[in-house]
Structure formats: structure tokens, C-alpha cells
């Protein structure tokens, strides 16, 4: 079984691109376009990593993060954001995240950061990570 990644993001183009890119590298990807959908997906099947957008209509990233932490203390969550304020980032850090990167940077740079985050996490998943070269 390969690493399971959950992308929670209301921007479909973005999650489709990142999702396809991750899949093309052998990750199992599931996408959710809202917080509710994302939380449901976590309950359905626990992912290895969650990429979570800060700003979404309805339930925002911080609220989802709190919800996730309520049940899954250990689940790695990487916050993704285009415009998050410093306060929000600090707050997210307090609640507990594995990483953070800005969507505002070049997408290729975001890809590099995702890659880096995954590489850092790979230690614990390596044996399972058949899909990744």
C-alpha cells in the first residue's frame, strides 16, 4: 500500500493539479472540496497525511484542524494557504501541524515543498511507500 494523502481544498483546479501530480508519483490521493467532506473522508479511511487549505467557505482551515486534532492527535497535517495571516499561522502552529506552505509561491515551488514534506515524513512510511520511486 502506498502513502494515502487527503487534499482538503475548495479550489478544484489546485487540488486536481496537486492531486494528479502526487498520484503520478505513486501516492494514493483523495480530494475533498470542503471541511465537512474532508472530515467525512478521514472517518471513511484514515489518510497518512492531510493537506489542508486555510481559507475555505463554510468551515475554515483552523476549525477543521481543531476538529481533526480532537480525534486524531498524531495525524500529520500540512497547512496550505494563499493569504493566511500570521496570527492564523501561529494559531495553527499552536494546535499542531507538520508543516505549512504558501500557495502564493510558484506552483512548482509548492510542489517542491510538498515533496520535501513527504520526504521528511517518509521515514515512518518507507516500507509501505511502494509507489514512490
Amino acid at each position: 500500500m502506498s502513502v494515502k494523502i487527503l487534499l482538503i481544498d475548495d479550489e478544484t483546479d489546485y487540488s486536481e493539479t496537486v492531486g494528479f501530480w502526487l498520484m503520478a508519483h505513486g501516492y494514493q490521493v483523495r480530494t475533498a472540496s470542503s471541511g465537512i467532506e474532508g472530515l467525512k473522508a478521514i472517518e471513511d479511511e484514515l489518510p497518512d497525511i492531510v493537506f489542508l487549505d486555510f481559507l475555505m467557505p463554510g468551515m475554515d482551515g483552523l476549525a477543521i484542524l481543531r476538529e481533526i486534532r480532537g480525534k486524531h492527535l498524531e495525524l500529520p497535517v500540512v497547512m496550505v494557504s494563499a493569504y493566511a495571516s500570521e496570527d492564523k499561522m501561529k494559531e495553527a502552529g499552536r494546535i499542531g501541524i507538520s508543516g505549512i506552505f504558501s500557495k502564493g509561491t510558484e506552483l512548482s515551488e509548492a510542489a517542491r515543498l510538498i515533496n520535501k514534506t513527504l520526504m521528511e515524513m517518509r521515514g515512518g512510511h518507507e516500507r509501505n511507500n511502494a509507489g514512490y520511486k
Binding site: T17, W21, G26, R112, G131, K133
Partner: protein
């Protein structure tokens, strides 16, 4: 059932064979990916290029076929997702054994009715052959450029050499023309000097003798005067009338003035003869016929005699200030250096409008003698300055200057292993500085034979 079935098994096989043949015959690489980014189909060309077998490749993440370090891949996905297609993008594929294969790729993203990704179709053209050709072409081009550069360099060197040769030829010609002219003038001057020298000699000597005679005759006159004084006491009428007659004659010719004037006339005439003698000497020194070997000469003397020769050109134009330093004799062709000084002095005089100053100085510096000739003339414009030593370059009206003077000066100074430099400020004046080695090794060798 059979009647309403639109397609028979045979037909299905026929059609699938038909498409298989088409895809199999494609030269371009074809890769079809599933929505989960796994490989669904690759054609024969793709297997060939990537060196995978069908079993190897089906179902693997499509990213494995691309250069993972190439973040272009991410951009391509982004374009595919947002635009649904991409055209003519360059990227590297990776073969099974890790070889990078540069391709130009086109892609289309097909979505289903729910706008979900259904499949991705990638067609890529292996660019290795073309890139090799381009590399070869680039190399060839570089070689060609190098060759052109080399040829250009060779041509430039050849051009410089021929320009240098031409310049030398012009200089030689100028020098020939000038030295021919100078030789004729020199001969003429020497002839005149010789012709004048003889009469000058005997006129001077006669004047001296004449002066002695006159001194004697003045003595005699004094004796006669004394005699006249004593005769005035004699009461003989015939003696007295004789005395009166003489007194009247003395009055008539104003003897006292005459005697004074004779002295002055002698002084003036002797000065004139001295000057004629000096001119003759200068002519001789200037022309100096016969000697074409270097010799030790006093530059200050040379400057002085040259100045006398061109004095007529200078005297109404400039006041000449000289500062001759204490310099040793210089091994040189004196007459040629005189020619240089003459050319520069005449130019200096010509450069002065109205009245100005020409300063001539000599001094010693290291093993050289420096001669500086400055004028307060109109100066040389910056665009003319680099050309003034060029043969036949002149700013004087046609017929006035040959454009040879400074070219010859330059050549002569070079012959002495010296240097001639010029400094000029328009409206303020010009300074020529000549630097001549006291003993040039080259000239020393000529003397030794």
C-alpha cells in the same frame, strides 16, 4: 438477439486490430494515463524508446516515465488541468534504465460528463536525433565561427602589416623627397657660402689694413695741424693765405665730424662683415656637406645656427626665449637635427598670429637630451593632432606646405632612436619635445663601421 446486435465479435476483433495497427505504426510516443495517474496504455514507439515491456509499464504511476527532478512536469500538469491541453512542451522522459530522453510533447485531458478527469493522452516526439543534429550543427557553427574569427584575425594582422608597410613607404618617400630637396639647398648654400667666404675674407683683412692706414693718416693730420698752429704767427702774407685756405677747406669738409664718422663707419662695417661671416658659418654648419656619418655635436650650437638661418621667418612674429642647458655632445647627424629644429621653428612662427613667444630649451634627462620648442600660437586641433606626423598631411593652403616637415622630423628623430612628442592646446600654443639618446647604440655601431 443476433439480428439486433450491431457489431459481431469478428467485427470487434477486426476494429481493435485496425486501431492496434495504427497505434503500433505510430512513430511518436503515445501514453494514455488513468484519472489516478497510472499508465493505461503505451504504444510500441513508447515501449521502444523507454525500453519497458507492456507488463512493466501498465499500471505504474505515470510520473515514473518523466524526469522527476524536472519541475516542468508539475507545470505541465497544471496546464493540462486548467486548459485541458498543452502543445509543444519540451520535457525529459526517463527510460527504464534511467536514460533521459528529451521530447516535445502534446497532451490532452479528457473529462467525463461530471467534469471529472477521464483520461490523459500524451503524444511525445523523441528529440534525441534532432538534438544530436542541433548539437552537431552548433558545434559546426562554433567551429565555423572560430575559423571565421581566426581568419578575421589573420586578415586584421595582414591589414595592419600592410598599413604599417604603406606608412613606412610613405615616410620613406617623404624623406626621400625632402632629403633630395635638402641636399639641393645644402649644395646651393655650401656654394654660396664658399663664394661669399673668399671676398668676405679679403674685405675683412683690407678693412683692418685700411683702419691701420687711417690711424697713421690721422697722426699725420695732427702733425699738420700743429704745423698750421705755429705758421699762424708768421707775418708772411703768402703763408697766411695758405693757412686761411686750409682752414676754410677744413671748415668746408667739417674735418672733426668726418674723423668721428670714419670711426663709426669702420665700426659698423666691421660689424657687418662679422655678421656676413656668421651667416656664412651658419650656412656651412647647416649644410655640412660631405659627412653622412654620425658625429658628436653640440645641440645648443645647432639650435643657435638654425635659428639664425630662419631668423627672417621668426623675427617679426615672435620673441625668442632660449634656455640652453649644460648638455654634453650628442652622437647624431647634426645637419639632420638642424633640419628638425628648422621645421619645428618655422611651424612655430607660422602658428603665431600677430606677435608671440617661441621658447627653446635644452636639458639632460637620464641618458637623453631633451629639446623643447614651444610657441604661443594657435595650437593644433585634437582631430589633427594624431595626423601631424603623417606624410603629406598639412593644414596649410595648397602650395604653402608640403606636409613633409614634421614627417621628416619624425623619421629623423626615429633614426636617432629618439622620440618626438607634441602637446597642444587650441588657442594657447604647442610644445614639441624631442628626446635624443646621448649615445645611441645604433649610431655608435655605424661609426665603428
Amino acid at each position: 438477439m443476433r439480428e439486433i446486435m450491431p457489431v459481431t465479435n469478428k467485427e470487434i476483433i477486426y476494429h481493435s486490430k485496425f486501431f492496434e495497427n495504427i497505434l503500433g505504426s505510430m512513430i511518436d510516443i503515445l501514453v494514455v494515463a488513468n484519472p489516478d495517474a497510472t499508465v493505461r496504455f503505451v504504444n510500441h514507439a513508447a515501449l521502444n524508446a523507454l525500453q519497458y515491456s507492456v507488463e512493466d509499464v501498465n499500471g505504474i504511476p505515470v510520473g515514473r516515465l518523466f524526469d522527476d527532478n524536472d519541475l516542468n512536469f508539475f507545470e505541465l500538469i497544471k496546464q493540462l488541468v486548467t486548459n485541458g491541453e498543452l502543445r509543444n512542451k519540451g520535457i525529459n522522459l526517463i527510460s527504464k534504465n534511467g536514460e533521459k530522453i528529451p521530447v516535445v510533447m502534446n497532451g490532452t485531458l479528457i473529462r467525463n460528463e461530471e467534469n471529472r478527469i477521464q483520461s490523459i493522452v500524451i503524444i511525445a516526439r523523441d528529440m534525441r536525433e534532432i538534438f544530436n543534429l542541433i548539437t552537431e550543427l552548433t558545434q559546426f557553427n562554433e567551429e565555423l565561427e572560430e575559423r571565421v574569427d581566426r581568419r578575421t584575425d589573420e586578415l586584421r594582422v595582414a591589414k595592419e602589416a600592410s598599413e604599417e608597410a604603406f606608412r613606412k613607404l610613405q615616410q620613406t618617400q617623404a624623406q626621400l623627397v625632402q632629403s633630395d630637396k635638402m641636399a639641393s639647398i645644402g649644395q646651393l648654400a655650401a656654394g654660396i657660402a664658399h663664394e661669399i667666404n673668399n671676398p668676405t675674407g679679403f674685405v675683412s683683412s683690407n678693412l683692418k689694413t685700411l683702419n691701420e692706414y687711417i690711424i697713421d693718416i690721422r697722426g699725420l693730420l695732427r702733425e699738420y695741424d700743429a704745423l698750421l698752429q705755429s705758421c699762424s704767427h708768421i707775418s708772411d702774407e703768402s703763408v697766411l693765405s695758405g693757412v686761411r685756405h686750409i682752414e676754410e677747406f677744413k671748415k668746408k669738409i667739417d674735418v672733426s665730424f668726418l674723423l668721428n664718422d670714419i670711426e663709426q663707419i669702420f665700426a659698423e662695417t666691421q660689424d657687418g662683415m662679422r655678421r656676413i661671416g656668421k651667416i656664412v658659418k651658419d650656412f656651412k654648419e647647416f649644410s655640412h656637406t660631405g659627412s653622412d656619418k654620425p658625429e658628436y655635436a653640440d645641440i645648443n650650437n645647432g639650435l643657435e645656427s638654425t635659428m639664425n638661418i630662419v631668423w627672417n621667418e621668426i623675427k617679426y612674429k615672435a620673441e625668442v626665449k632660449t634656455m640652453y642647458g649644460d648638455i654634453p655632445q650628442v652622437l647624431c647627424y647634426p645637419q639632420q637635427l638642424n633640419q628638425v629644429f628648422m621645421n619645428i621653428l618655422v611651424n612655430a612662427a607660422h602658428a603665431i598670429d600677430g606677435k608671440g613667444v617661441i621658447s627653446v630649451s635644452t636639458r639632460i634627462r637620464n641618458d637623453n637630451v631633451l629639446v623643447e620648442i614651444s610657441d604661443t600660437g594657435s595650437g593644433i586641433s585634437p582631430e589633427h593632432l594624431p595626423r601631424i606626423f603623417d606624410p603629406f598631411f598639412t593644414t596649410k593652403p595648397v602650395g604653402k606646405g608640403t606636409g613633409l616637415g614634421l614627417a621628416v622630423a619624425y623619421a629623423i628623430i626615429r633614426k636617432h632612436n629618439g622620440e618626438i612628442t607634441v602637446n597642444s592646446i587650441v588657442g594657447a600654443g604647442t610644445t614639441f619635445t624631442i628626446c635624443i639618446p646621448i649615445e645611441s647604440g645604433q649610431l655608435k655601431q655605424i661609426i665603428r663601421g
